[in-house]
């Protein structure tokens, strides 16, 4: 029963995450910024509207939004909340997590190409190319964590990470940074892509959902928000010590998510977006960090942790 | 009784020469072929051909193997000769002379196989050269004249050197005092090793020239390419084997005299050189008959390698020589058909053979598979046995260069054969060739050869196996 509560916290947080980030960014720029519940209002409005669908599209375009939401919610079941195990946890479940995200990406890219517009094609191509760098990094990271804790599923790995020594702090810090980077890339936030731009040629994620309207748009926007929250939840698991009781765990979890959302907002307001041709170099940072984590762990292991 | 094998062909040759009318010469030719096959069948049935110790002529098991191959190849060539002449439109007189020469050539080769005396063997080998010279020149073209001249002159000089070798051998074996193989082999220990080695060197160069083994092979591509296709089939299918038999007999004496190591290294050097030369030229050959000749050089190289590895190696070599002779004869006869169809010997001019003349096309491809040693055919099994012998003899590393060169050769052959077989037939074909279609007699021999090969490849009959084992000295 307590796990369901954890899941509930996760889903609720996804509604406020982007809103909080936008508000922090506006507040930092001296503006009032949209109310926190703005996103919830948008979703309710969209769910109630009709739709305009491109003439050239096939069944893929209509099938994509449900796949996106289903995949994200399924991935949410796999992610543990600090202090307790995830709803579904078995050895190697982070592989299923990554491949669920992969399924969502596959249908998103296909849907983008289905509309037959050159902008959506460009966005899809960039998304697909950058994704090829993110996936291996995620696996290296999780693999090295599994290596050090000797466990093979999300819940065990994240719960057994508490160790006080110096190397542990360094490893945790590196993991948090790389996961945060991954959040920025997967959510198309911060230096990688600017969600508020109106120029289609520069977008990556936003352009792929350009042609959606009504409930489809609602599904897709919610799924994107949920994806960012999932990765944020992983970071939160690292930040919050796992041995605290459930009650405090949920509160600490929500607080951690808020801090991460604020972080995203801060990063976006400080760093301008990177030139499109330099984005791959930026994204290369992610696998590089993951490999350093692995190197440090291997080195630490040999010296007898 | 054994003299019949020599006299009947030469007598029939005389008749053909004298009579000169087309039906008679054809009947004589087919009669001779039938006689050969009958004699061989009788020999297989166990009839003893007087292989007594003292006599100069005798048929032992290794002789029987080569005699069978020769009889089969000759029968195929005999069947193809009428078609060949009908296509080239020669006068009956010329055909009669051709048939006479062919029969004398057959008699000479039979002599080589039956000879039990080294010098007699030499005489018959020289006789084969002389009798086949005019056969090569039968097309009366400048190129066939040049080929015939090179063939006669180089082989005669080579064989003269072989005779020097024979005399050196008799110098070395004063105590044995006879050149009969049985005596030489029995008392090989008493022969002076220095003179024996010198003799083997000369004999290897002499008979090697006739056998077309590198570095003394250079005449072979010219002779086999310019001769008419039935003759080149006989040359490649039977004559090369006969000269190989000569070397095999002397190698047997060398091994019994304890000098096996020396002769083996020589044979291995010759074998690999032949493979190298064949590989070098097959990559860039332009004329498809010369291509077949180079493939013969390669196969003779393989035979030498087989011979160098004792009885199991000889078994593989004999199986390989049977496979090579029949498949090469089939390929040469088919090349005659292709020459008739396209009127040119250049590989580039021949295209879409399967579409233009499906029977010849498919025979051309299947016989290539047989020559190149693809599985259903015995050449593959002999290749496997040979490599097994390499490893058994501890020199497994030889399998590497051996198979590498064979791969290059198969690439050279394959790309040429399939360049000719596939694709669309060219529009501009010389008028004379357009109407001509190979009739049954130009296709049946090849099919028979390929069927025999398939039979040998899939399951070697028991009798054939036991004869091959005794021939190779592996015992019953």
């Amino acid at each position: 029963m307590s796990r369901l509560l954890g899941l509930f916290v996760l889903l609720a947080a996804s509604l406020f995450f982007t809103g909080l980030a936008a508000r922090i960014k506006a507040r930092w720029a001296g503006r009032q910024g949209p109310p926190l519940l703005q996103e919830v209002r948008d979703l309710r409005k969209l769910l109630g509207k009709g739709e305009v669908i491109g003439r050239t599209t096939s069944f893929i375009f209509r099938l994509n939004p449900p796949i996106q939401v289903a995949a994200m919610l399924f991935a949410a079941l796999l992610v543990p909340v600090p202090g307790q195990r995830a709803l579904l946890s078995f050895s190697g479940d982070f592989v299923l997590f990554a491949y669920a995200l992969g399924l969502a990406n596959f249908s998103a890219i296909c849907a983008a190409l289905d509309t037959g517009s050159s902008f959506e094609g460009m966005g899809a191509s960039r998304e697909a190319s950058f994704l090829t760098l993110v996936e291996p990094a995620f696996f290296i990271l999780l693999g090295s964590l599994a290596l050090v804790t000797g466990q093979t599923s999300f819940s065990e790995i994240l719960s057994r990470l508490d160790y006080g020594t110096g190397a542990a702090i360094l490893v945790k810090a590196l993991c948090v940074i790389s996961l945060f980077l991954m959040l920025l890339v997967e959510g198309s936030r911060g230096p990688v892509d600017d969600p508020t731009t109106h120029l289609e040629l520069t977008m990556i994620h936003e352009v792929m959902i350009l042609d959606y309207s009504g409930p489809d748009l609602a599904f897709v926007v919610y799924a994107a928000g949920l994806k960012m929250v999932l990765i944020a939840a992983l970071i939160a698991n690292l930040l919050v010590p796992s041995n605290i009781g459930f009650g405090f765990g949920a509160l600490a979890f929500a607080a951690a998510l808020a801090v991460i959302a604020a972080g995203v907002g801060l990063v976006e307001s400080f760093m301008a977006r990177i030139r499109m041709s330099h984005v791959p170099q930026f994204i290369f940072l992610l696998p590089a960090l993951a490999l350093t984590v692995f190197g440090v762990l291997l080195f630490a292991l040999r010296r007898g942790f | 009784m054994i003299l019949l094998l020599l006299l009947v062909p030469s007598a029939l040759g005389g008749i053909a020469w004298a009579v000169g009318r087309r039906p008679i010469t054809r009947a004589v030719l087919l009669g001779a072929a039938a006689f050969e096959l009958g004699a061989v069948a009788a020999a297989w049935a166990g009839m003893d051909f007087g292989g007594a110790a003292g006599s100069y002529l005798g048929l032992d098991s290794i002789g029987l193997v080569f005699l069978t191959i020769m009889a089969l190849v000759f029968a195929g060539a005999a069947l193809a000769v009428p078609g060949f002449f009908q296509e080239s439109g020669a006068s009956p007189r010329k055909e009669a002379v051709f048939v006479a020469e062919l029969l004398v050539f057959l008699a000479a080769m039979t002599g080589v196989i039956l000879a039990r005396h080294l010098a007699l063997l030499w005489v018959f080998v020289e006789a084969t050269t002389l009798s086949s010279a005019l056969l090569i020149y039968s097309e009366k073209k400048k190129s066939s004249l040049e080929a015939a001249w090179k063939y006669v002159f180089i082989c005669s000089v080579g064989i003269a050197l072989a005779f020097v070798g024979i005399i050196l051998l008799s110098i070395g074996s004063r105590s044995v005092d006879s050149l009969l193989f049985s005596d030489l082999a029995a008392r090989a220990g008493e022969i002076n090793p220095f003179w024996l080695k010198l003799a083997f060197a000369f004999i290897l160069v002499g008979f090697g020239t006739k056998m077309g083994v590198a570095p003394i092979h250079a005449w072979l591509p010219d002779a086999h390419a310019e001769a008419p296709s039935p003759v080149s089939a006989l040359l490649s299918g039977a004559l090369l084997n006969a000269s190989f038999l000569g070397i095999a007999r002397v190698q047997d004496i060398m091994v019994k005299a304890g000098l096996g190591a020396f002769s083996n290294t020589l044979l291995i050097v010759c074998g690999f050189l032949s493979l190298l030369v064949a590989a070098a030229y097959l990559l860039q050959v332009v004329n498809y008959k010369r291509m077949l000749a180079y493939s013969s050089i390669e196969n003779m190289g393989i035979l030498c390698l087989g011979l160098a590895f004792g009885p199991p190696g000889l078994f593989a070599a004999l199986l390989h020589s049977a496979a090579h002779s029949l498949s090469k004869a089939a390929m040469f006869l088919t090349s005659g058909n292709i020459l008739g169809l396209y009127g040119s010997k250049a590989i580039g001019d021949v295209r879409g053979l399967i579409v233009r003349e499906p029977r010849t096309g498919w025979i051309w491809i299947v016989s290539f598979l047989a020559v190149a040693g693809f599985p259903p055919f015995p050449a593959f099994i002999s290749k496997f046995l040979l490599i097994q012998v390499f490893f058994a003899a501890g020199s497994g590393w030889m399998a590497g260069p051996f198979l590498a060169l064979i791969a290059v050769i198969v690439f050279g052959l394959g790309s040429a054969v399939f360049k000719m077989a596939f694709g669309d037939p060219p529009e501009a074909v010389p008028a004379s060739a357009l109407s001509w279609k190979p009739d049954v007699s130009a296709v049946v021999p090849q099919i028979v050869f390929l069927l025999i090969l398939l039979g040998l490849g899939l399951s070697l009959p028991e009798t054939v196996r036991s004869v091959l084992r005794t021939a190779a000295g592996l015992g019953g």
Partner: protein, 660 residues
């Protein structure tokens, strides 16, 4: 075992009977015989797979072959299932597909005969356990597929591809010939069972022998340095054959490697790493080149190389597990590899059949000229989508299950063993993920550009979907994909005996662990499927009374709309290809528009295979140059020829006198 022989005979006689039947019936006859052969092959195979016994049969052949033993053990049974299903699918599909070549009766009968011969030869390859007979059947398989590749030989590139394929097979067979000759001569008998003693021997021989076997079988399977024939041969063959070759025939290479492992080969731990890293390179290199290919069938051929890499990764992992004496890793490794063999057969054949229908309807394989086929070929595009999702290993499809097995093996490899295996396994983990991501990139490109959007080049005449003969096999294969993807535990008992033979000691507890793990995964996937259905229904519910308007796609208000605006395949792949530029050499040839009213401007880009340019062509040129040094011999002058003989003689004499 006799039933299997009857089945093989049926395949062969199907080919023979088709020779004498009217051209229009050739396809149906061979399909009927293929169908008839199914029970004879599947029943014994199923019995052996489930029961675990070994059905043996010895054929007394004469001397050179000796008594040949044919044994149907679980490994052979598994591959027999794949071969018989593949043969049936290819026969039925070809019955429909070959109608395109009605005007060439002669080559049609050749096609029917050789495809029957190919299937029967493959069944024999996996059951024969006698060195020489194995090589004979192996080469007959190569020959039959050579003639099938050379079917459409009026085209120049088909001829070149066919000869290239023949020579590649010849080199592979040469390695196998040497390896078999070596092992049978040192173990005394040509039977496979006796090779165990050779592999158990000490010193360098067993390792060298295994490497020889690996090169020989790897060349047929398509591991990286020897794969260059595959992207040439498979697209050249008619689709029915390229599906059979890609889905089934290259698996005989994998079968060979597994058979050698079963016989005790690869004991040396270093070999495990060699296979592991070579497979990783194969996978990554294969999919990178696939992304750069505009030709549909060549792209699928490169994907076969990628999947062979994944299978090889499983085998390598299994070998590392065995050398670390950790049954769990070995069990998962071999399980992933074997299951991926079957999965790859299903989705690769499905994709090739789809590509065949596309080629049959649009007569072009260049995906840049296709587009919008989803509307004109709805069924084919739906099935192609299932195939693409499965090959990318996405959940709910069979690809995911075998890759998940590999992943769990890799993860277990991380948690146990020393520093070196951990580093290797992590590299494998990252590599597999990288391959998965690139596969997603590649197949979104193919599916998006070919089937989605609107047709880039207007079709001359209206095209309708493939006939029943074409779609039948595709539906069957989709059934297999979904069966394994969703209710996978049903298949597990069949793989039980097969996978556990590879681990000495049977790995009972580990297998139970694996079964429970996959039951959990099955449960999770069911939850995912349930959510999917729920949300689709929710969307339909939400839109029930709302207005859904079909309108033009948003194009920034630009009025002159044209399908050529759509993103092309090469531009879709270019951001990624710039990242991996050195590995996939690219040449651009373009002619800039000049003058005030430019008539013609063109841009042509072509991707090369790094191994082909960097390794195979220079090697070929070097051989040609080296052998070219010998071509001074045939000068035509008689005197020179005699001089060669004399020089040789003098050298011999000097050697004799000197050595004495």
């Amino acid at each position: 075992m006799t039933l299997v022989l009857v089945g093989t005979g049926l395949f062969l006689s199907g080919g023979l009977v088709a020779l004498f039947v009217r051209p229009s019936f050739k396809g149906t006859v061979s399909a009927i015989f293929a169908a008839a052969a199914q029970p004879f092959l599947l029943l014994p195979a199923g019995r052996v797979l489930a029961g675990g016994g070994v059905e043996a049969l010895t054929i007394p052949l004469s001397f050179p072959l000796g008594p040949a033993a044919l044994r149907l053990d679980p490994l052979a049974a598994f591959f027999t299932v794949i071969i018989s299903l593949g043969g049936l699918g290819a026969a039925v599909y070809s019955a429909g597909y070959m109608k395109m070549y009605r005007d060439r009766p002669a080559s049609l009968s050749g096609y029917a005969f050789f495809s029957g011969l190919l299937c029967s030869a493959m069944v024999l390859v996996v059951t024969v356990q006698h060195a020489l007979l194995f090589l004979v059947v192996w080469e007959i398989m190569s020959l039959a597929s050579f003639f099938l590749v050379g079917f459409d030989h009026s085209k120049e590139d088909v001829r070149k591809a066919a000869v290239y394929y023949l020579v590649a097979m010849q080199v592979g067979a040469a390695c196998l010939l040497t390896a078999f000759a070596w092992s049978s001569s040192s173990s005394g008998s040509p039977d496979f069972a006796s090779f165990g003693t050779v592999f158990a021997g000490t010193g360098l021989a067993p390792t060298a022998l295994f490497l020889l076997f690996f090169v020989g079988f790897g060349l047929k399977a398509g591991f990286v340095p020897f794969h260059t024939w595959l992207p040439l041969a498979h697209p050249a063959a008619p689709t029915g054959v390229s599906a059979l070759m890609s889905g089934v025939m290259i698996k005989t290479g994998i079968y060979g490697i597994l058979r050698i492992l079963l016989l005790g080969g690869g004991a040396n731990p270093v070999l495990g790493y060699i296979v592991f890293f070579l497979a990783l390179a194969t996978g990554v290199f294969g999919v990178m080149n696939a992304i750069a290919q505009p030709d549909l069938k060549k792209l699928l051929a490169y994907h076969s190389i990628e999947n062979i890499g994944i299978i090889g990764l499983g085998i390598g992992l299994g070998m590392i597990g065995l050398s670390l004496r950790n049954d769990a890793i070995a069990l998962f490794g071999f399980f992933g590899a074997l299951l991926h063999v079957f999965n790859h057969f299903t989705f690769k054949s499905l994709l090739f059949y789809g590509a065949g229908v596309v080629y049959m309807k649009t007569h072009t394989r260049n995906i840049e000229l296709l587009g919008g086929l989803a509307r004109s070929l709805p069924l084919t595009s739906g099935l192609f989508l299932v195939g693409s999702a499965a090959i990318c290993g996405l959940p709910l499809f069979s690809g995911f299950i075998s890759e998940f097995g590999l992943f769990s093996g890799l993860i277990r490899g991380l948690t146990v063993g020393g520093a070196a295996p951990r580093a290797a396994v992590l590299l494998g983990l990252a590599g597999l993920a990288f391959i998965g991501a690139m596969a997603v990139l590649c197949f979104t490109k193919v599916y998006g550009v070919c089937f989605l959007g609107s047709p880039r080049v207007p079709h001359r005449e209206a095209i309708s979907d493939g006939s029943a003969l074409l779609l039948g096999p595709m539906f069957a294969l989709t059934g297999f994909i979904l069966l394994i993807g969703l209710c996978f535990p049903v298949i597990l008992p069949f793989l039980d005996r097969l996978v556990r033979r590879f681990v000495p000691g049977g790995a009972g507890p580990e297998w139970a662990q694996l079964v429970t793990l996959f039951q959990n995964v099955g449960l999770a996937l069911a939850v995912l499927a349930g959510m999917l259905v729920f949300f689709i229904a929710l969307r339909r519910l939400l839109l029930r009374r709302k207005s859904v308007v079909l309108f033009k796609t948003w194009d920034c208000g630009y009025q002159g709309e044209s399908p050529r605006f759509q993103y092309t395949a090469s531009s879709f792949a270019s951001p990624f290809l710039q990242l991996v530029a050195p590995l996939v050499p690219f040449t651009h040839r373009h002619r800039l528009p000049d003058g005030l009213f430019p008539e013609h401007a063109s841009l042509e880009s072509h991707a090369f295979d790094l191994v082909e340019i960097g390794l195979i062509r220079p090697l070929g040129a070097a051989i040609r140059r080296a052998l070219g040094l010998l071509t001074w011999i045939q000068t035509g002058r008689t005197q020179n020829y005699i001089l060669y003989g004399l020089v040789f003689l003098i050298v011999l004499i000097v050697w004799i006198i000197g050595v004495r």
